[in-house]
Symmetry: C2
Subunit: 313 residues, 2 copies
Amino acid sequence: MNEFDFVSFLQKQFPFPLGVGIGDDCSVVKQGQSYQLITKDILVEDVHFCLDYFSAAELAVKAVAVNVSDIVAMGGKPCYFYLGLGAPSYFMEHSLLDFFQGISNACQDWRLFLAGGDLSKSDKLFISITMIGETDRPVYRNNAKCGDLIAISGNPGESALALKLLQLDKSTISFSQKHKKLNLDIEKSNLIARYANAMIDVSDGLLIDLKRILDPSSKGAAIYYEKIPKTKEFVDICCQFQFNEQDLVLSGGEDYILLFTISAEHESKLRLLNVEFHIIGSINDHAGQLSVYNFQQQIQPTNLGFDHFLVNS
Amino acid sequence: MNEFDFVSFLQKQFPFPLGVGIGDDCSVVKQGQSYQLITKDILVEDVHFCLDYFSAAELAVKAVAVNVSDIVAMGGKPCYFYLGLGAPSYFMEHSLLDFFQGISNACQDWRLFLAGGDLSKSDKLFISITMIGETDRPVYRNNAKCGDLIAISGNPGESALALKLLQLDKSTISFSQKHKKLNLDIEKSNLIARYANAMIDVSDGLLIDLKRILDPSSKGAAIYYEKIPKTKEFVDICCQFQFNEQDLVLSGGEDYILLFTISAEHESKLRLLNVEFHIIGSINDHAGQLSVYNFQQQIQPTNLGFDHFLVNS
């Protein structure tokens, strides 16, 4: 069983009659005139991060940010959150104030409030945040339309490349931020959400996250690799260290850029608002088919991206 | 710094202008005519439980139950929840379906819905649940009144005793349930909530949890040990294994019974509803003072209860 089968099993086992439950970035429950969005993301030491290259404060900011990313990926504004923290004794003694300074900075940056939580000892550090947001118009994953353009709001692969350099201790401080710090722009994301048909944030890799739009929408897609934006610096570093650029771009995780589908008409309207985004493909009716081309040559990606459920991934 | 100082630091650092935030069983945010309650409780392997004596399904039920307990301790009805699960490979491969069967059973028992979550690999198992509930009248910890009676809804110490027996491999299956299974009665709890002034669920020990009512209420209390209910079985087992009965009753954790303060007038009204509870003391104006008597002799408890923040606790 992989993550897709598992989510499908959970959706059958746990229907949610009060709104939209398992299977999107957030759950959605109508409240008065608007919708409450709730998301939960966990970060685990040595799975999602390593304390060798993350300070406690940087980690706190990232843990909040990945949840903000889920809220904006549904077209919402994040409001407040709950923090579950499991921490070893040395972290409790030496890093807790630094950690909460990071939480405090994140609250200021994104106008959020910490509303509660729970703290426990734990052999390894883990951070479990539940965030509450709201929106007038939730953007779901399952609403991609045939003929929609596929767009991204930034450059995929950069976070995964920065991580590789951090692990080799070869990163510059400035490039390492591409892994450590999320480049979130709530206003820009909310503008995109007004026009997008389906949307997700790229957390586990461009292709696996695109599949999370295609499958519930019962659609297929064609992606044009040459249209995916890459900086010269990115291409040069891949070349210098002989990293597989294509793998990083298509399957590298943790970019937290927005991946969305949009009609041609809405694309023009969004362009007029000076929002930067890149068209990288299109949605078609071949449900389950995801084809990737590079200058009209079809290419076969070696893997889709990170699957938490596969024991060996 | 202990847990009390830490919570006080967090309350100053993280004010919550949208309602009641850090420092009670749940956060409280007004929504239309009622209040939304949100709580987050985490359970960590080898801190809160041990897989030697918990099946995956039992653990799932308990993880849901401790959050239900927080909601009812504020006078609420639990509605739905989010599950963060960190699990080792062997658990993913062999115990995940059993675990979700437990989640499913808990949903049926308490009419709850699982609305979302996140899953990750982790060296040790941890479960982080965030639960959403609602109430028309939240009952806070900080509202104990001078002259209030102090009451409990069950027998404290039994869970801690059952845990000791489990750890020695001396428990009967039936007695082990006192640790493994919470005896939750949402209807009874909601009746109590109608009349209580202040309330908490006993999770870390009777005295430490009473202190969590006294400190924010700026009150003191006198507790009469002889009035605390204990079964003959409980007393006999303590005697047989030479366990310190008083420590278990006053400081044993995880009973998840309700500890509340109530006016004499409301106590009579609650009695008329055939709700079983026990008066064990009274609230006074000596802020910060918690005195415990046994047949008029003052006794000095050796410790208050479990403090997650004390590194050596």
